[in-house]
Symmetry: none
Subunit: 246 residues, 2 copies
DNA sequence: TTAGTATGATTGATTTTGAATGATTTTGAC
DNA sequence: GTCAAAATCATTCAAAATCAATCATACTAA
């Protein structure tokens, strides 16, 4: 069997079970312990999994690193997200200076974007590439690209952002809560989001209905700092937040 | 059987199974091991598949987004570029602070890179993603994302670079000339390259033999500022440039 | 014919694999 | 907590698989 095949199988098993032991691999793939170990070491070096005593586990990405994961995630409330994204995209004017946050929902905006005369700034690598392909003037924030091929984070990113003053910014979020505000799982990510929100004259947070009353690890902004764009009426939030329905 | 037919069949099999061994091919196509190997080598050189130990697999689709522009260019002198890249990659030490220029040749370096303990800075989006996936500490220079390529350029990129001091830098070039030095077609890219070269204690320029005595639009560095890495002896350049043969 | 090319077999070199070894880490009893 | 047994590990080595290079043969086209 080709080592590539084995590697793929190991990653598939991991995707299924989230962790695997060396012994399990020797049985499942019918290979020697040595080979199983060697494969684990290789995949670990390549960053595809994390080697631990006894076997291997999936790296815990805060942001999805491979397409399939992003794909799966974007399945949830896909239509709603698209509707919200479409509305958000319609808010962009030719003279705008736009910040575009990383994430699946903001990603959908690109499909509905007709206005490419505006200038875009983003920390999302994929979004920047798509925008550039559309012929837009796009600036990619510099900084650390962490184990995620998605978004740029870190001190450099934050410092750079402080020099910019956006007319509008579009953000994704993992949770919207009356007490915790807008939250996201990753601290570094949160820092970038927070800074970017502060630099926006008007910050829009795109939330499909699954995000309400959800609290993730780190708050990146209070409800007051942004306008919520969503699809379904959220009565309990209307008194303490500005909500626009797509 | 015509070799073209075999090639098509091999690619069809690959499309079906994603990977195939040499032995499988000898049985399925009823050809000798030698022929199977030769076909694999040819298709690999043409970039239609990736030769691995024991057989062949389909090219990596993970970074397909940015590939297409790169793919076509990479046909010329593929093997030479790879050899040069392999040698260049071997120069990287754990404690190094590396600048990695955009381009196909520098891109090949990533495949040979075992040392991911070093810190990398790059203006190439695709390279940054690959490095991050390998688990390396990688900083992506911020700036404007050009429509045509996958490289970041512009004032912001240049200014950011001036704060960095690299132990080693690896650069691609479109031309090497005794009078014009290292040249590249795009002025913006030239500016970034020039700045990056200046910030390197040691700058390596990777040139396959097709680049010699070629002059492109804009000079980004004099021959004296960099060490040339190439594959074939270049007598006429040896007196005025430092050349290392891979 | 004769040069040019494709094929298949053979060879020694290289790479991968699996088993064995002793070292290291974890576990569980105390 | 300590200690010893069990499990897991990294390293080494030889066997097996695979490879690149070479050569002889067969076929093709001028």
């Amino acid at each position: 069997m080709l080592s590539e095949q084995r590697h793929k199988m190991i990653l598939d098993i991991l995707k299924e079970k989230r962790s695997v032991t060396v012994t399990e691999l020797t049985n499942l793939l019918n290979i020697s312990e040595s080979t199983a170990r060697r494969d684990i070491v290789m995949l670990d070096k390549a960053g595809r999994l994390v080697k631990v005593f006894g076997g291997a586990v999936l790296p815990d990405h805060t942001y999805q690193m491979a397409e399939p994961t992003v794909m799966q995630k974007s399945e949830v409330n896909r239509e709603e997200k698209k509707r919200i994204a479409k509305y958000a995209a319609s808010l962009i004017q030719p003279e705008d200076f736009i910040y575009l946050d990383a994430g699946t929902t903001t990603g959908y905006m690109l499909d509905f974007m007709e206005e490419t005369k505006a200038t875009f700034v983003t920390n999302a690598v994929a979004h920047a590439q798509k925008l550039a392909a559309k012929g837009a003037h796009v600036v990619l924030i510099g900084g650390t690209l962490k184990n995620s091929t998605e978004a740029v984070v870190g001190t450099m990113a934050v410092l750079t952002l402080k020099d910019y003053h956006f007319t509008k910014g579009f953000f994704g979020t993992n949770g919207v809560s009356r007490t915790a505000g807008f939250t996201t799982p990753d601290a570094n990510e949160a820092l970038v989001k927070r800074t970017a929100v502060e630099q926006c004259m008007k910050a829009y947070v795109l939330c499909d209905n699954s995000k309400f009353n959800v609290v993730s690890a780190v708050t990146f902004s209070s409800l007051a700092s942004g306008t919520i764009l969503t699809d379904k009426k959220q009565e309990e939030f209307e008194e303490i937040a500005t909500i626009v329905y797509a």
